[in-house]
Amino acid sequence: MTAAQFAIGGRVPSAVHAPASVDALQTLLRECDRRERAVVFFGGGTHQGIGGVPARYDDAIVLTNLSRTIVEDARDLTIAAEGGCTIGALSAALAEHGQFVPFDVPLAHLATVGGTLAAGWLGPRRAAYGRPRDFTLGTHVVLADGTLAHAGGMVVKNSTGYDLSKLYVGSLGTLAAIVRANFRTVPLPRARRIAIAALPERSRSRACANVAALSREPSAALVFRGFTGEVDGDEGSEGRAFLLFEGSEAFVEQAVREVRSALGSAGVPATRLIDREVPAVFARALDAYASAIASRSATLRSYGLPSDSHVRVDACERVAADCELACETIEDLRTGDVVARVSAATEAAFAERVLAFDGARRTALGSARFVDAPAAVRGALDVWGAPPETLAATRAIKARFDPNGTLAPGRFVAGV
């Protein structure tokens, strides 16, 4: 492992550590905290595009040695996983018992449990199943001063003290290292099918409205515009619907019939069904969320209401066009998320235009966040967008948990 592999936004740590145990991590953190060395935790590195460039960065701490999973009794539908366990490994362990947790994370073979939780990753199936935080029953964390602390437990219903696991999820490693998480799991659906359909511009809004009104709802309902290299199917240069149906055989069969009819009545010419290797096809679609084009693209993510996701897609496209950037989008019809990848033909042109894009997007997409950007421009972008009303509380919590600013200083919202 070289230090350069762990650079963030061009900032390179002076040392890289891979503690072999939680004890070793505690000792290491205690020492870093005492010596005022700033650390950034690493899992698979797949979410490191999120957040700002660290204000200080001395040590990268890689947690992938903590990679075990424990299933005490599969019938409990719970699993414990160490923070460095990959989502892929966790999913494989669960699949042996016919179970899963819908993390919906890109690059699942690399992304780790701790990293996925710390990044606050939100995937498309959360509308159907819940967010990763809702599946997290408990956590073991190591705080900046080396303290090992536990939150929650191993039961699926818990109202015992503050649920601090929720605080660590989405904190981007600025409060603690997540060394273990306990999850609720769900049985794998008996049947899965993906429906893909080209959406001509004239049919788009009606088709999306019809999808939103389906009585048998898809677990994921995405509209891709662009991403032709990443997502299966070459249908539709103007956009294509990507709908995942999961449930009983009878449900999926009826759902597919219903969606074909709904899309057909919106003027969509054909709906193609995928019923083989559905998980792999879905995983490739998720990978699109994290796919960059060399050093000449950046990805912006906007959360909001499903009813106005199309407005935000249009805003992304308009602002990108004004800045002479190409724009590809993923619109999530169930959650309201919009992901926009903007790019240019050359690195030099991109660097200049993306800064203009960042300035211009603030009116229409003020709270959107950059989740990936090339190192050369990242430090100059307003990666977090407009700060939340709760910024003062966020700052105060950071100060109370990490008074020396040891953990990823400056990575979080508004430079926290």
């Binding site: 939680v22 004890d23 505690q26 009794d73 599969a74 019938r75 409990d76 539908l77 160490e82 016919g98 606050g120 967010r131 935080r133 809702d134 705080l143 303290t147 602390a149 536990h150 191993m154 039961v155 699926v156 219903k157 818990n158 109202s159 015992t160 003290g161 503050y162 649920d163 601090l164 696991s165 929720k166 605080l167 904190s171 409060l175 769900v186 049985p187 659906p189 939103a212 009585s215 048998r216 009983s248 009878a250 009826q254 959360y303 209401l305 499903p306 009813s307 709270s367 967008g385 700060p387 939340p388 009303e389 709760t390 910024l391 509380a393 105060a396 919590i397 109370r400 979080f412 919202v413």
Partner: protein, 477 residues
């Protein structure tokens, strides 16, 4: 704590100046109504205030700060752990008047409500849009959504739809300085919703909630399976839960409870069974039909003595009404009951129930058991007569022993009622010193002076907790 009559008079005068006399209650008769909840302790506040809006809540908090007195937020007072009792006097803010549903956004399936809205009232209002609210504590016709959020309430359907924490999408709260702030689930920044929900009024006072609504399923079926004992019913539950069946609630009642319920409601439960499993499946018509076929097979495999499905909506509602009224029905057996709340990993339910029965026998206290079995959430009902000091002491000892038994089985001391005053000393059996100190870091951020609901959640020893020291325990030890 306010000692002098002059200080009390000044506090009341300032409250009246801030929000108007018609919002402020000060006579002993009036205050008696705000000094208790569904737990045993009673302690009247020195003033109770019934604000009409969030601005008044801020004004009340500022008065409290100026006078250095505590504030306890109160919903309907259905809490079972004493969380709404103003142990140190001070001010109770009742949300009885802040009970408006501000908006229902059917397209985006969410609602904005004031904290005093009763849980069931939201589902009733959302029904016209084909929507409902998921968490459904048994007290839902009275219990408020603000109170539900404070305790992270769940109910029978938390199994399928999650407890409050999974269903709150936004909160507006007033902090200890009286400042209002709104947090939404998608905001950047730490997940304050996750911490505020379940904090039992110790961090902030919530003045508005944004809640997730769900589509009313097109088909629902409720069935009743009778078993010889809870063990067999629990085994059936484990298989149903693991089998991708569209079950939305799995509730067990033991013979004692079934007999009391049946005598009261005559809903048609089999009274000779050792345990009855109430199963709800919901979804699309084809799912429900599929699920019921699977259920019939599974309960038979685990030795069900009978299985019967409700044939009409009315019968279904009757079964649910009687299940949710189970605790009250036990009044036929004893004048008082104490309901315990604990959770264990689902497969350990039979052992937990066996422990409960052994503990009850040891203390010579009759019990009934209702169990949110899909979640491993036990509610043993300890039956007693509060006029008998021996029984009161025995119930307290048995309740405590039940918590120890559940902790020993890998469980915890509350699934949905919270900690409040009742279980504050027990919390240190679940969490070590470092864990509690970490929680207190959060409390220090929100309320360093401990003005919001003092004396709740944290063990009294926590007042002396200082900076935590690292421990040597491994991650998967």
């Amino acid at each position: 704590m306010i000692a002098s009559g002059a200080a009390v008079a000044r506090l009341r005068r300032d409250l009246i100046a801030a929000v108007g006399s018609e919002c402020v209650r000060t006579t002993p008769e009036e205050l008696a109504a705000y000094g208790f909840d569904a737990y045993t302790d009673v302690h009247a506040p020195v003033a109770a205030v019934l604000p009409h809006d969030a601005a008044a809540v801020s004004a009340i908090v500022r008065v409290a700060r100026a006078h250095g007195v505590p504030i306890v937020a109160r919903g309907a007072g259905t809490g079972l752990c004493g969380a709404a009792v103003p142990l140190e006097g001070g001010i109770v803010i009742s949300f009885a008047r802040m009970n408006r549903i501000r908006a229902i956004d059917a397209r985006n399936r969410r609602a904005r409500v004031e904290p005093g809205v009763a849980n069931a009232a939201l589902s009733a209002a959302a029904a016209r849009y084909g929507l409902f609210f998921g968490p459904d504590p048994s007290s839902q016709t009275i219990a408020t959504l603000g109170g539900n959020a404070a305790t992270n309430a769940g109910g029978a359907h938390a199994f399928a739809y999650g407890s409050m924490n999974a269903n709150v999408l936004g909160l507006t709260f007033v902090d200890v300085d009286g400042e209002a702030c709104t947090v939404r689930a998608d905001d950047a920044g730490y997940d304050l919703i996750g911490v505020l929900v379940g904090s039992e009024g110790t961090l902030a006072i919530v003045t508005e909630l944004e809640l997730r609504l769900l589509r009313v399923p097109r088909a629902v079926r409720v069935g009743v399976a009778a078993f010889a004992d809870i063990e067999r019913a629990s085994e059936a539950v484990s298989e149903i839960v693991g089998d991708a069946i569209a079950a939305t609630a799995l509730e067990i009642m033991d013979r004692t409870v079934v007999r009391a319920v049946e005598a009261h409601y005559a809903a048609g439960f089999p009274v000779d069974a050792g345990a009855v499993l109430l199963i709800e499946v919901a979804g699309e018509p084809e799912d429900v039909a599929d699920a019921e076929r699977a259920l019939t097979r599974i309960v038979a495999k685990h030795g069900a003595l009978s299985y019967r499905s409700a044939t009409s909506a009315r019968e279904r509602e009757g079964l649910w009404a009687s299940r949710k009224g189970a605790a009250g029905a036990l009044g036929r057996i004893a004048p008082n009951y104490y309901i315990q709340d604990a959770t264990v990993p689902r497969t350990r339910l039979p052992r937990a129930i066996a422990d409960v029965e052994r503990i009850a026998a040891r203390h010579a206290i009759p019990i009934g058991n209702v169990v949110h079995a899909g979640d491993g959430n036990l509610h043993p009902l300890l039956l007693f007569d509060r006029r008998d000091a021996r029984q009161v002491a025995a119930v307290a000892a048995a309740g405590d022993a039940i918590l120890d038994a559940c902790i020993a089985l890998g469980g915890t001391i509350s699934g949905e009622h919270g900690i409040g005053y009742e279980k504050r000393e027990t919390l240190s059996r679940v969490f070590d010193r470092n864990d509690l100190a970490t929680m207190l870091r959060v409390r220090d951020v929100f309320d360093p002076a401990r003005r919001f609901n003092p004396g709740k959640i944290f063990p009294s020893a926590c007042d002396e907790v200082t900076a935590p020291t690292p421990t040597e325990t491994g991650a998967l030890a």
